[in-house]
Each structure stands twice: as C-alpha cells, then as structure tokens.
C-alpha cells in the first residue's frame, strides 16, 4: 500500500455530494437499470446509503416511478417488499422539496389513473395523503365514488385540507347516494375542517339520519359548525337527556360551545349557563365541569358567582375542577372566599378540594388555615393538608410539619415524616427543638430523618438517646448513630463498644466502622488493635478489624474463629461475613465445608452469595464460587438466589449447570431464567445443546413476562444455529473418548499401524490406571507423565475446561493443543520455577510470548476455568474470564522448524502431581481444507508460503494480520502496526496468490524489501488497491492496482468486484517485472529502463534495484484477505 492523498480527494467528493451541485445521476445507465440497481439494494441499511439510493431513484423521474408501479403485484403470493421501500422512500425523500415533490405526486396521480388493483391504488393514495396538495385534488376526487377507494381518497383530501379539497369533498357529498358514502364524506369534511359544508350537513341532519351517518354528522358539526348548528345539536343532546351514547350529540354540542367561545362570547355564555343548570339538575358532574370550564374562559361570566355556587354545591368532582380552572390570580376576593369556605364544619370533600387547591396553586396566604386539618380524622383530608403545607413551603410550613411529629396519631407522624424528607432547606434545628416533646413514635421519625439526611450536627442528640429507657427510641438511636459519626467521635464510640449491651452491639459496631472508614486501612488496623489488646471484650472488635479489609485482619479473625469458642467464635464468624475483602469467600467456604451446624452453614452461604453478587469479579469467577455455594446451600431461597446469579455469569458451563434444576418445581423458574439469560446474551453458545435447553426453558417459564421471553427465545433460535455448537468431551461417568499417550505426533507418524496399535494398547492401560473418574471429575493422582488424550483430533476449536490443582509438593499440569505442549497450569507459589506469572501461558514458546498477560489463578485447591480458542496456529486463552494469552502463535515444540500441526489430539497433561478436570466442552470451527500445490506446481518446484492453517513462514505484524477461515486477513487497526513479511528473503521468483478487497481497500505487495522502512522506496511495491472506489477516482496511473509504485503504471480495469477473489501472479526476474491479474497481464516492464530518466513520481527509489529481500503485505486502514500463497524461486 502506498499512502495516497485520499483524504483531500475524499473531502472533495464529499463536498460535491453535500452541495448537490453535481447531480449524482449514475451516468450511462438507463432509468430502468437504475431502478433495478436500487431495488436490489433496498432496504437501505443506513441514512447515507438511503440518501444515495434515493438520489439515484429520484433522478429517474416519472419514468422511474412508473417503472416501479409496473413492478407492483396485487395482494397475493408475490411480495412487493422492495418496491414498497422504493416508493415510500421516494415519497419521504422528496416531501420537503417542492419541485421533486410535485413530480412524485403527479406520478402517483398518473398511476392512479391506470388499471391497477384496488389495494395498490389504496397504497398510492396513502402516499399521496402525505405529500399531496391542491394539484392532486382532481384525481382524488375522481376516486370518491369508488366504493373501495372513497375512504382513502377522502382521508387524503382531508389531510390536504385546502378549500379546493373541501370543495371536492362537499360536491361529492351532494351527489352521494348511499349512507355509507355520505358517512365517509361527512367524516372527512369534519377532519378537513371545511366550514362551508355546514348547511349541507344540517340539511342531512334534518332528514332523520341514523347510525354512523348521524354519529359523524354530530362529530363533524362539532368541529366545523357555527352558531347555526348550536340549536340543532342542543336539541339532539337534550333528546338524549345528555346521556353518553354511541351517537353523542352532547359531545358535539360541547365542542361547538368551546369553539364559539371566542367569536360569540355572549351567546356561548347564555348557552353554557343553561347547560350548567341542566347538568346540575341531572347531577352530571362531568357535564357541569364541561359547562363551567367554558364559562370560566369567557370575559363576561360572573366567575365569582360561579365559584360561590360551586363551593356551596360541594361536589368534589365539580368543585375540584372549578377551583383548578378558576383564574384566581390577582383575585384576592376569590381567594378569601375559598379560604373562608374551608372550615372544620365543611364536608370532607370540600376540605379535600380546597386543601389540594391551596397546594396546587401554592397559595402562601393560606398556610395559617391549614394547621386545623393536619390532625383530621379523615385520612384524605389529612394528606391533603400535608400536601398543601409542603407545596406552599416556607418557615411556617416547617414549623407545622415538625409540630405534627408531636402528634400521637400514627398517620399524622408518618405523613409529616414523608413531607419532611422532601422539605427543601435545613430541618435539623427544627427537629431538635421538638424532640423532647414527641412521643416515641415522633422521636423515632426524627431519628430516621436525622439518619436520612446525615445530620452530623445531631450526633449529641442521637448519642444521648443511647441512654434512654425508651427501648424503641434507644434502638433507633443506635441504628442512626452510624450516619452522624465523625472521626473525632472514635474514642467515644470505642467507649460505647466496651459499655454497650450486646443487644445494641451490632449497631455500635457499624457506627465505629463508619468513623473508622475515614482512616486508611493501616491506621484502622493500628487503632483497632490497640483498643482490642487492651480489652477483655475482644469479640466486640472483630467487625472493626474486618472493616479494614486487610489480609492480616482476615487472618486474625479466621484464627479467632478456629481457636475461640462461644461468643468469641460467633463474633469472629460475624466479622468474616462482613469483611470487605473478597478473599473472605475462601474463609467462608472453609467454614461452611467444615461446619456441622446447619444454621452456620446457611449464614456462610448467604454471605458468600452476597459477596459474589456485589463483587466486580468476572462471570467465570462468580460461576466457580456459585457452583461451590450450590453444594453447600441449605435453603430453597439460597438455591434460587444462586441460580439467578449464575444467570448473570455468561458462562456456557453455568448454563449447563443450571439447566437440570428446571426439573425441580421449587427452583424451575430461577433455573429457566438463568439458562435463558445466558443463552440469549451469548449467540456464540448457540447449537444443539443450547437449543434443547431453550426449548425446555420455553416450556418451563411461568411469570408475567413469559410471553415476551418466549418471543425472545424464538427470535434467538431463528437467528442462530440450532445444531452443532459445543459438545461435551467428558460424560462424567467414564473415560469414553479418551486414550493414553503414545510418543508425540512426529514419532507416531513414523510408526507402522501395527506398532502404533500395540503402543496405544499399552499406553491406554497405563493411562486408565493413573486417571480416574471421581464425582463427575477426571482425576490424575499417579506418579508418571501419562497424558490423557482425546481419541478424536481437532483443528480449529474453542475448548472449555475447568481444572483444579491440589496442595502438594509441586502442583503442575497443562493442556496440550494439537498434541503439542502446552497451555500451562501451575501453582503460582512456585516462584523458583517462575510460576508467579500465573497459568494460561504457552509455556514452551521461544519466539512468541510464553507468559500470560496477567495472573488470574484462584488459590490452589479451587476450581479454575479455561476458555481456549485455537484458530490456525493462533491460540487465545481466558483464565477465569481474564484474557491471558491473546492470539499467540503456538510453536511446534517437537520440531521447531515446523509449523504447528494442522490437526491433532487434545491432551490433559499429567505432571506427577494431583490434578482434576471437569466440564470439558469443545466447539469445532469449520475451515477450508489446507491449500495444496497442484501436481504441476509441485513438479515445477513451488513451495507453499501460506496454506490457510498457519503463518509459520511469516513474521512482522502478526497482530493486525490474523488468520481467519483459512485466509490471512488484514484487519484495520488504529495501531497502523506495520507490515507482514516472509521470514525468508527472495530474489527472483514467481509468486502466485489470491486476494479479496473490500470497498476502498488499500494494501500493497512489497518485494525485495527489507523489513524496515517504506517498502515502496527501500524495496519495491506492487500496488494492491480497489482503484474502482469513487474515493480513488483521481489516481495517478502509477498508483493503479498492480503498478510498480511510482515507477511503472499497470493497466486498470481487471480487478474483480470487491468481495470476490482475485488471482494474481507476479514474476520478478532481474529487472523484469510482470504482473498477471485474473489472466490479464496488467504490467510487463523493466524497472531499469523505466527509471532511466527519473521515476514517474519524481522520488528517489534507493531500493528499486535490491538484489533480494522479503516479500511483504503493506497494509493499513482497510480489510484485505489473502490465501493460497506459493512461490517458485527462479534460478539465475
């Protein structure tokens, strides 16, 4: 690749696209080709593609539009999908461009005049409804007599909504002969708001219409009517006794009143008053509200009179709405009257309505009236009063609310407390001032408020309550203490710790911890140890120790747990449960495993669950500890919690682990949810096993969201493979599928079948002696080094396996991949052999990294879990969810001159120490057969540089150039991390390879180049470029694909489209360079002659005449694939 000045070029093209000055009409294509091209690409996947495709489409004008129409099929078995996208996309695209909109609308019109299926026409009318204007009225009105299309056409006209559209609807109404047609048209006229239709509608109303026609007439007159419609509507409403009905003239009448309010205030006032009195007679509160709300908008209404009546009326529905609508601003008299009505003698409904009104309107002057109702016996009144106080706010509201705390009425205290929680401003002093006057309940509320707002200034008040005789208050004070302490209270708090009754100990401990937390862990340790050593109440200090979270603290407490008894032991246990460090999980597991006390085990398990749930450990680590916890769980609730949490681990093993619990009625729902969550979050787990589990989940789910969840499952199964996927390599019962180890892949290959069989039989018997199945795990407890090997061989795969080392002299094991050592497993404590780097490295690598990226091991004796992915010669390892080996080439330990074997067995290593494995799952990836030379090429002396399985011949940037599906793939990376080179150097040669470009791809083939520097100058570069991409339209000829960059131009136009494979042959023979692309010689020249009078790019090319060098791929920024690379060296 060569850095091309593509940014400026690209910017230029971009600006042209943006400015719209250059039509984007694809030149030299006919409209029907453009339409077909666009249809093939619809629906557009993103806005820029949409804009481009629509620009193309719109450029075809009416001809293109009609072409699209011609492609529409009537409803039935042929889909209109692409045309639907094209037509609607077109309409939306031009809607705000007058000229283009007119073209589209007129094309719609033309189409509507053609003999098309009605449903297609209805669809076109719906398009026209969005963009039509006066010019389309004629064609739409012609459709108003069509039984199927009058509906859509009338709606389109209603939306156009101009006088012409209204006129068209009206004249159709005049000539309509069926009630159904009339109904349609009247409804549309109403929606169009065409006022001129009123006389015709009134006329229709006179002729005793019925059913839907009557309904739409009322509706429409309510929308468009004038004074003239008032009486007819009123008459009809009255006839119905203003009762709601399917045909509802009352609603129309009310609409009309509201509409006329501005233009005919006098008339409306008269009408509304009458209506109000009728509604009052009927006791219809909703209609009273409607009448009053009209009246209250009119300038001349006697609003005060209306208000007074409403206050007297006292109906809460009516009064509330009148109060809400009353323009009380600047009407002090009204406020006074309202407040005067608020009296203890008034009905509770009136009290409620007025109190809420005070709150809603924030009537500050009313605060003094409210206090009477704060202790009302009616709870709704009481609540309204508190609301009013809180909303009006201010100092006096605070005093009243705080005063309520003195009440002996529980509800009053509760309401006051809720209100005070939301009170803006400092409430601390006010609370303190009433504290002593409160009953226990009020005191407790105050303490809770102090805690909520962390009122450190009330520390003394809280502290003093620890010495009261009022037990509930004392307890609340103890609970509150932690929220108000400061560092300087520590010594007093330690004093409390010594003095306190055990009943309050836990709360005091929390307070001590809160104060301690302001210090560093070391300082905490120091202070606590000091006090503890001087105390004979040591147990009281364990929790404070645990708060520091230091390893020493945990050790100390654990020791206390093991050595102490009774109260002290219990206290140590409690402290471990509260310990901040995640490592407490190990201690809790030990306790649970060794305890005989079920209650103690249950508590330990609860603590483990809590620790795991709140930790930021990986899903893998959580899975491991949760699985342990499941073994120890004592209650159904614990098991459900564990299952639920397992569902958040995103671990395949966890999904398989939880699935069987679907059979337990008490756990089935949690298990189903967990399995579902894991599966749906991880499409890579899809396959036969996952499908079976999800099907079972679907049947098991039983919760309000189950239908939603089943939908999600169906979607997942329809989008992901339902066969294949991970399969188990270990059945949990015996060693079926496994065998002993014979030699190594190279020695085995040299053995005869017979020799191998005999050796295998011997190895098997040894292996099955050393390896045992125990409790669903495979355990090696032998002395030797007999690996356990899969019978099957594997190429590209992902392997999941859990493993566990046991404490002992030199814990060590590993996983051999393709018969080759190894993914390392060892005890990180073995620093003498360098094990402190952790497990999961490719231990035997010498060139490529052999150490893991980080230590992710759990303690020896715990299960760990590997996820190992091997693609080609690259290996990635995740240990306990952490990536420890990142796409590293595994070297061939048995013969370092060879690449790794393309396919071989997987082995569980035995290394003389006890090790266990469980849950072994493997997913194989399809890959093409390795590339092989043709007989002819073999004869000619070609050798393979890349066969799809390994990159053994290559070096340099193996990070961005990865192996995928048998190809070398350059993935764009931010790093621009350099090039990929052959390890060997070549002088004269024939190179054959295939490559695939993505749009705009830019790469290059370096030849006779050193590994350092710009190959185009320090060596020679043969351009690899998608030179058809629009962004490269201004290239220099010497930049075309295949050119000797800057020196000899290649012929352009022989690349296959992006996404297809190109076959290229490069012959470099002395000064003679020849490039054959897809069978066409695109370059055939002599570099010495070409450079004789200076190169085309006027640059120095010091490496042009290198005798030899590496071959390299020089890429960045875009994805390119290479495969089947082979070379023949030419003899000089």
């Amino acid at each position: 690749m060569k850095q091309i000045k593509k940014y400026t070029t690209f910017l230029g093209v971009f600006l042209l696209m943006m400015s719209g000055t250059m039509a984007q009409t694809p030149q030299h294509r006919t409209n029907s080709t453009i339409v077909a091209d666009v249809l093939a690409q619809l629906p557009a996947q993103n806005p820029s593609q949409y804009n481009q495709l629509m620009r193309d489409l719109v450029s075809t004008g009416e001809e293109g539009f009609m072409n699209l129409i011609g492609r529409l099929n009537p409803p039935g078995n042929k889909s209109n999908e692409a045309v639907d996208y094209a037509l609607s996309g077109w309409i939306h695209f031009v809607a705000n461009n007058d000229a283009q909109r007119a073209i589209a609308a007129s094309a719609c019109e033309k189409a509507l005049q053609q003999p098309l299926d009605s449903e297609i026409k209805a669809m076109l009318i719906r398009q026209l409804e969005l963009i039509g204007d006066d010019s389309n009225v004629a064609v739409l009105s012609a459709l108003l007599t069509n039984e199927r299309l009058s509906g859509p056409a009338s709606q389109a006209l209603a939306h156009i909504g101009t006088p012409a559209a209204g006129e068209a609807l009206l004249s159709a109404l005049l000539s309509a002969d069926t009630d159904q047609m009339k109904t349609t048209l009247v409804n549309a006229l109403g929606q169009a708001g065409y006022l001129q239709a009123e006389p015709v509608m009134l006329e229709l109303l006179n002729n005793n219409p019925s059913g839907d026609l009557e309904k739409v007439l009322y509706d429409a007159l309510g929308r468009i009517g004038t004074e003239a419609s008032l009486q007819p509507l009123k008459k009809a409403a009255k006839q119905e006794k203003y009762v709601y009905g399917k045909i509802n003239p009352t609603a129309a009448y009310l609409s009309l009143l509201n509409r006329l309010a501005e233009s005919e205030p006098g008339l409306v006032e008269k009408e509304a008053k009458k209506f109000l009195s009728e509604a009052t007679k009927l006791g219809r509160q909703d209609l009273k509200v409607a009448a009053a709300s009209v009246l209250l908008t009119l300038p001349s209404t006697d609003k005060m009179g209306l208000l007074k009546k409403a206050l007297k009326d006292g109906n809460i529905v009516y009064l509330t709405q009148v109060l809400n609508s009353y323009p009380y601003q600047d009407d002090e008299k009204a406020v006074k009257i309202i407040l005067k009505t608020l009296s203890p003698k008034a009905s509770s409904d009136v009290q409620i309505a007025i109190l809420y009104w005070i709150g809603n309107q924030k009537v500050a002057s009313a605060v003094s009236c409210i206090s009477d109702y704060l202790n009302a016996s009616n709870k709704d009144v009481q609540k309204a009063a508190v609301y009013a106080l809180l909303e009006t706010g201010g100092e006096s509201a605070l005093i009243s609310l705080v005063g309520m705390l003195k009440s002996t009425d529980e509800n009053a205290v509760k309401l006051a407390k809720e209100a005070l929680e939301g009170y803006e401003g400092d409430i601390s002093a006010a609370l303190a001032s009433v504290f002593n006057d409160c009953s226990s309940q009020g005191k407790i509320a105050i303490l809770q408020l102090i805690a909520n707002r962390r009122m450190h200034d009330q520390y003394r008040l809280v502290y003093n309550q620890l010495f009261t005789d009022d037990e509930p208050v004392k307890t609340e004070a103890a609970k509150t203490l932690r929220y108000v302490v400061a560092e300087e209270n520590l010594s007093e708090l330690f004093g409390l710790l010594e003095q306190t009754d055990d009943k309050y100990l836990a709360f005091i401990q929390q307070a001590v911890n809160a104060a301690l937390s302001m210090l560093s862990p070391e300082e905490q340790m120091k202070q606590v140890m000091e006090k503890m050593n001087a105390s004979d109440k040591k147990y009281a200090y364990y929790v404070a120790l645990a708060n520091s979270g230091t390893p020493q603290a945990l050790d100390l407490i654990m020791k206390a747990y093991q050595t102490e008894t009774g109260k002290n032991k219990q206290a140590a246990f409690d402290a471990i449960k509260q310990c901040k460090s995640f490592d407490a999980v190990y201690a809790l597991q030990d306790i649970a495993r060794n305890s005989k006390d079920k209650e103690e085990i249950a508590q330990a398990v609860d603590a483990i669950i809590e620790k795991v749930a709140s930790s930021d450990k990986t899903g893998a680590v959580k899975y491991l500890f949760l699985r342990n916890a499941m073994e120890m769980a004592q209650t159904v609730k614990q098991k459900n919690n564990i299952l639920r949490l397992l569902g958040t681990t995103d671990m395949y093993q966890a999904m398989l682990f939880v699935a069987p619990y679907m059979d337990d009625p008490e756990l089935s729902e949690s298990a189903a949810q967990a399995a579902m969550n894991i599966a749906l979050n991880n499409p890579s787990f899809a396959g036969a096993e996952t499908t079976a589990i999800l099907n079972k989940v679907s049947k098991t789910l039983n919760n309000p969201d189950a239908d939603y969840q089943r939908q999600s499952i169906r979607k997942y199964l329809s989008e992901n493979p339902t066969t294949g996927g991970f399969v188990s390599l270990f059945n949990g019962k015996d060693l079926e599928g496994w065998k002993g180890l014979v030699g190594n892949p190279i020695t085995r290959a040299k053995m005869s079948k017979k020799e191998l069989a005999a050796a295998q039989a011997k190895a098997d018997s040894e292996a099955f002696n050393d390896w045992k199945v125990e409790d669903g795990t495979i355990v090696f407890d032998g002395k030797g080094f007999n690996n356990l090997c899969t019978v099957k061989q594997y190429g590209d795969f992902e392997l999941l396996v859990d493993w566990k080392l046991f404490p002992g002299p030199e814990p060590d094991a590993g996983i051999y991949l393709r018969g080759t050592p190894q993914v390392q497993i060892w005890d990180t404590a073995r620093v003498n052999v360098g094990a402190q780097v952790g497990s999961g490295g490719l231990y035997n690598n010498q060139i490529h990294p052999s150490k893991p990226l980080k230590v992710a091991d759990l303690k020896v004796g715990e299960w760990n879990t590997f996820r190992i992915r091997m693609i080609g010669d690259r290996v990635s390892v995740w240990l306990n969810g952490e990536l420890v080996t990142d796409n590293v080439i595994l070297e061939n330990y048995w013969d370092r001159s060879l690449p790794i074997f393309p396919i071989e067995q997987i082995e569980l290593q035995a290394h003389g120490s006890k090790v266990a494995y469980r849950d072994i799952y493997i997913k194989e990836f399809d890959r093409p057969e390795p590339f092989r030379l043709s007989e002819e090429e073999e004869k000619e002396g070609f050798r393979v540089l890349f066969d799809g399985t390994n990159m053994h011949e290559w070096t340099g940037n193996t990070k961005d150039y990865v192996l995928e599906d048998g190809n070398i793939v350059m993935h764009p990376s931010k790093s621009f991390g350099g090039n990929l080179y052959t390890k060997d150097e070549f002088d004269n040669f024939v190179l054959r390879f295939e490559f695939m470009l993505t749009p705009g791809a830019n790469n290059g083939l370096g030849i006779r180049t050193p590994m350092e520097g710009d190959a185009a100058y320090v060596g020679m570069e043969l351009q690899i470029l998608d030179n058809e991409a629009p962004i490269y339209k201004d290239l220099q000829p010497y930049q075309y694909h295949g050119s000797v960059y800057g020196v000899i131009p290649a012929k352009r136009g022989y690349l296959k489209p992006t996404g297809e494979w190109n076959y290229q042959e490069v012959i470099a023979d002395g000064d003679h360079i020849k490039v054959i692309l897809n069978g066409t010689t695109i370059l055939d020249g002599n570099i010495r002659e070409a450079a004789k009078n200076g190169t085309m790019d006027h640059r120095e090319h010091p490496g042009l005449f290198n005798k030899k060098g590496h071959i390299g791929f020089l890429g960045h920024g875009s994805e390119v694939r290479f495969r089947n690379i082979r070379i023949k060296e030419l003899k000089n």
């Binding site: 949409y50 039935g76 078995n77 609607s88 409607a290």
Partner: protein, 417 residues
C-alpha cells in the same frame, strides 16, 4: 371516606337507580358496594393483566374477538357483562373506571369517549399512537374532569427494569445538581433496557380469510383498511405502523417516561430527533440502531437498539459525573454528599385515592402525553428516515409538512377523534 354509593351519587346521580344490590358482606373487607368497579376493553393479552389490579372489581369486559372475550370472562368468578362494542361498556352504568388495553391505535378514541361519559380512565401504554390523539385525550379529560392513569409506573415505584434501582434516588441525584447540567440519558441494552426487536412486522403478508370469531373491521377501527392476515392482529400487531411502533411503541413509554420525570421535562418536548436506522417499510416496523432526542437546554435522551452502542456508556452522563446501571455513580463519596439533599416530592401512585380525591395521578394525561410524544416523535423520524425539528410550544414539526401530517393522522370513517 366516600363510599361507593356516595361516590356514584356524586359522579353521576342517574346511576344510583341502577346499582346492583350487593348483599353479603364479609367482615373486615371492603364492602363490594364500596369498591370501585372497572370494565376492561381488550382482553386478548395485556387486558387480562388488568383483572387483578388492586382496589377495583371487574364488572364488564369487551373484545372484538369472541374467543378472547370468553377466555377472559372465564378468569373471573363473578358474573360480568360482556360487550362487543366498547361504547356499550362505557355506557354500562356499573362501570366506574374504564380500562383500555387494546392495541394503541384505539387508545385515543376510547379514552376520549370514556372521558365524555364521565368515567375515570386506566389506559395502557403507549398512551396514544399519534401526537394529535394525545392532545385530544388531554383536552377531553380536562373538559370533563376525569381522573386518568397511564399504565406504566417506574416514575413512582418499583425497580426500573434492568437499571437495578427505583427512579426516586436517581431523581434525587439529578435534582441535587451533583451531576451538572445538561444531562444525557442513554437507554440501551447496556444500561439495562431491551427494545424487543421481535416486534418487527412482515414485509409481505398474503390476504387470509378473517376468522369467524373476529370482527376485523372493528379491530381496525380508525386504522386504514388492509387485507386481513393473522400476523397483523393479536400477539404480533406491534410490528405494524398502523397500530403501534414495534419495540419502541411497546417499551418506549415504560423507559422514557421516568427519564422525562428525571430530567424535569414533564411539560415540554425535545426540539430535535435524529435517527440512525435501516430504512423502514411503510407498513412493517423494522429495527433501528439509535434515536437521539435533544432538548432546548441541551439535555439528550439516546436510545440504542439491539446490541448497538458502547457498553461503557453511563445511563446518565453529566458534565460533573456519571451514573451507571445498578446505581453506580463515579462521583467520589456521592452517597454521603447526596444524603444531605431533600428527597424528591412525594408522588401520588394510589389511583383509587386519586379517584376519591379527584387529584391527578402520578402519571396522568398530561405528563403521559409528553412521554408518549417522545415515543411518537421517534416513530415519525424512523418512518421518514430523517432528522426532525420540533417546536415544543406549538407542538409541531418545523418546516416539515409531511412530518406534520403524521402528527394528526386521518381516521377511517366513522371513527374520528
């Protein structure tokens, strides 16, 4: 406390005469005659969840699918009235509260009709399928003084979906100003929300015979007539623009309404909506990558569909701090600092009490209209595949007549709103 009898007397005197006498009263229970009653419209799926809502008793149901109606009726022990036409249910004098659990294209009309009959209303989300219909509902409820409840609740109770916290403490944090201003809220799978992209429509439906139990014409109601196919109706209707807006319509108000509350946008709308999505089919709802709403003050709500977006993005991002899923905040010592601020104002989440005291429910026709408007703005921008600018005062799109025609869609006769 107002008894049901008194209540009915006050709400609609004429109904007093037709009250069915309730005779046997259990001790310590609310007398059936004091209990409010409800009628549920649409009992195919969601409507059945309305049967057990606290404090009210079902007395009537309505559905245009006979099978649905009979199946749902069997779930209730008492004898109840069954209706085919929703207006008959609204007319039923025994019904105090009308529950609307139909597909959204009916919500607006039914809510307005119930309001006109003086009934209180319990409506499923999304409130309405168009912005214009939402406005009509708001006006009708105001005009008749009804109490309206929209059925999503995360602004006032319960753990807010995958966020792992109720909204109240978040509101407190936002109001405290500790995060700074303006804020950007991201609603995506990564912050705990799932847009349920299985609610996508099919782009090709063959006409099928209408099953005898279904009144398809009434099911469609105001929506354009299109030939029947089973995928249009019942469990899969959300995949069609005529009736809803896919996962956005289904979950949008659940997710967005609490955000509107958090940001204090209960009485306004964004000024801009941008979409990044594949082109939408005119009939079938598709998927999308993102929808971004911007308010005048710079606050943003960003929706990411499917697995899109950056997993590290906070739920709320502010200039001074961020909040992530499970209420993880990156401001040092935030819990301590936050405790000193007052709690958010209490919200009334007791619908029955609201009905009694005639005060607005926590999520009502007004704030519900504004959150439904956000959902509907997104739907329009998706359908038109372009950035839209909105005037929150006039409540219409700026310089985009086509978008404005989708604000107030016309309705099929004889329906209108």
């Amino acid at each position: 406390m107002t008894t049901r009898r008194q209540f009915l007397k006050t709400v609609g005197g004429v109904t007093l005469l037709t009250i069915v006498p309730r005779n046997v009263l259990g001790r310590g229970m609310i007398a059936p005659s004091d209990e409010l009653t409800k009628g549920i419209i649409g009992v195919g799926g969601m409507g059945r969840n309305h049967i057990p809502y606290d404090g009210t008793r079902v007395v009537a149901m309505c559905d245009v699918d006979k099978n649905h109606l009979n199946e749902a009726a069997a779930l209730v022990k008492d004898k109840i009235h069954l209706y085919h036409d929703f207006r008959d249910l609204i007319l039923d004098k025994n019904v105090d509260i009308v529950h609307i659990a139909t597909p959204p294209h009916w919500h607006g009309i039914m809510a307005v009709e119930a309001a006109r009959a003086g009934k209180d209303i319990f409506c499923e989300k999304p409130m309405t399928r168009t912005i214009g219909e939402g406005k009509r509902v708001m006006e009708a409820v105001k005009q008749h003084g009804n109490i309206f409840r929209l059925n999503t609740w995360f602004r006032f109770k319960n753990t807010f979906y995958g966020l792992g916290t109720p909204v109240k403490p978040l509101k407190k944090l936002v109001d405290s100003g500790m995060l700074g201003w303006p804020l950007k809220v991201t609603i995506s799978k990564h912050t705990g929300f799932d847009w349920k992209f299985y609610w996508v429509g099919k782009t090709h439906l063959e006409p099928q015979p209408v099953p005898p139990e279904l009144d398809y014409d009434m099911w469609l109601g105001p929506a354009p007539y299109k030939p029947y196919n089973a995928h249009r109706v019942h469990q899969t209707f959300r995949g069609y623009w005529d009736y809803d807006a896919g996962g956005l319509g289904d979950m949008g108000q659940h997710y967005i309404d609490p955000v509107q509350y958090l940001l204090g946008k209960d009485d306004t709308s964004p000024i801009k909506v941008e979409v990044d999505a594949p082109q939408q089919h005119p009939d079938a709802v598709g998927t999308w990558r993102s929808i971004t709403y911007t308010y005048e003050d710079g606050c943003q709500i960003v929706l990411w569909g499917g697995d899109y977006g950056n997993p590290d993005t906070p739920y709320i991002a502010g200039p001074k701090g961020n909040v992530y899923k499970n209420f993880v905040c990156d401001i040092p010592d935030w819990e301590k600092k936050l405790a000193e601020y007052p709690e958010p104002k209490p919200q009334n989440g007791d619908f029955i009490e609201c009905v009694r005291t005639r005060q607005k429910f926590a999520l009502n026709e007004v704030n519900g209209y504004y959150s439904a408007t956000i959902v509907n703005m997104g739907g329009i921008a998706l359908r038109l595949n372009r950035t839209l600018h909105y005037d929150p005062v006039k409540q219409e799109f700026i310089n985009d007549p086509e978008a404005n025609r989708l604000l107030n869609q016309t309705t099929r006769s004889p329906w209108n709103i």
